[in-house]
């Protein structure tokens, strides 16, 4: 499983764009990149997933360069409610049976202030 490295914490202000970068130097050919968000006392929530280039949904964008050794989660115009821990996961989503698992790291604590 590819190891990921993220900043431990980030601070931002309401209305700003926040970019959280995840490093995954040993990503494998079949690995996908997935991001989750977690609020206190809740389980993580799926945000976005991608394989290469750019993926966008209603809440975030995911940028993946050509070498795929890193990825950046972009949150546009954050609000106080975006204060949470964000996890980057890398793994092969197509493995079935044994081996079908991804590893959560310690994540990035994002704090958004007024």
């Amino acid at each position: 499983l590819a190891k990921t490295t993220q900043p431990i914490s980030m601070d931002s202000y309401e209305g700003q764009e926040v970019n959280i970068t995840c490093s995954h130097n040993n990503i494998a050919t079949n690995d996908y990149i997935t991001w989750y968000q977690q609020f206190p006392s809740q389980g993580p929530r799926f945000i976005i997933q991608g394989y290469k280039t750019k993926v966008t949904n209603e809440v975030a964008s995911l940028f993946i360069p050509a070498d795929r050794k890193s990825s950046t989660l972009s949150l546009p115009r954050v609000s106080l409610s975006d204060t949470a821990v964000y996890y980057c996961l890398v793994g092969d989503i197509l493995i079935t049976g044994g081996g079908n698992k991804l590893t959560f790291g310690t994540g990035t604590q994002l704090k958004v202030e007024l």
Partner: protein, 114 residues
């Protein structure tokens, strides 16, 4: 929430006693997971299941066992609880899609071993 419930939601038990946590889902998902979450460690995978009677170990499986006798229930058992197993336990399912690794998490069980 993908129809995931966990029981009990809170439990206090004494060292050396057996404890069973239950994860129940109503949407016939094949993959189910048990994680624990502790301060400074993020989420760590304990065990997972890829079908009825098909289970495998995660990264922190020592001291835990699991069973899945039917699709909807995934049980986590602490045969002899220790204080180091005081934690918040999350159950998760993976959506039945080959092109996505979206997991949905239950509300969590807070276990205290005294």
């Amino acid at each position: 929430d993908a129809g995931i419930t966990q029981s009990p939601r809170h439990k206090v038990t004494e060292t050396g006693t057996p404890v069973t946590l239950r994860c129940h889902q109503t949407e016939n998902h094949r993959y189910m997971y048990w994680y624990r979450q502790d301060p400074g460690h993020g989420l760590r995978l304990i065990h997972y299941s890829y079908g009825v009677k098909d289970t495998d170990k995660g990264e922190v499986s020592d001291g835990y066992s699991v069973s899945r006798s039917k699709t909807e229930d995934f049980l986590l058992t602490l045969e002899s609880a220790t204080s180091s197993q005081t934690s918040v336990y999350f159950c998760a399912i993976r959506l039945n899609r080959n092109t996505s690794y979206e997991q949905y998490f239950g509300p969590g069980t807070r276990l205290t071993v005294t």
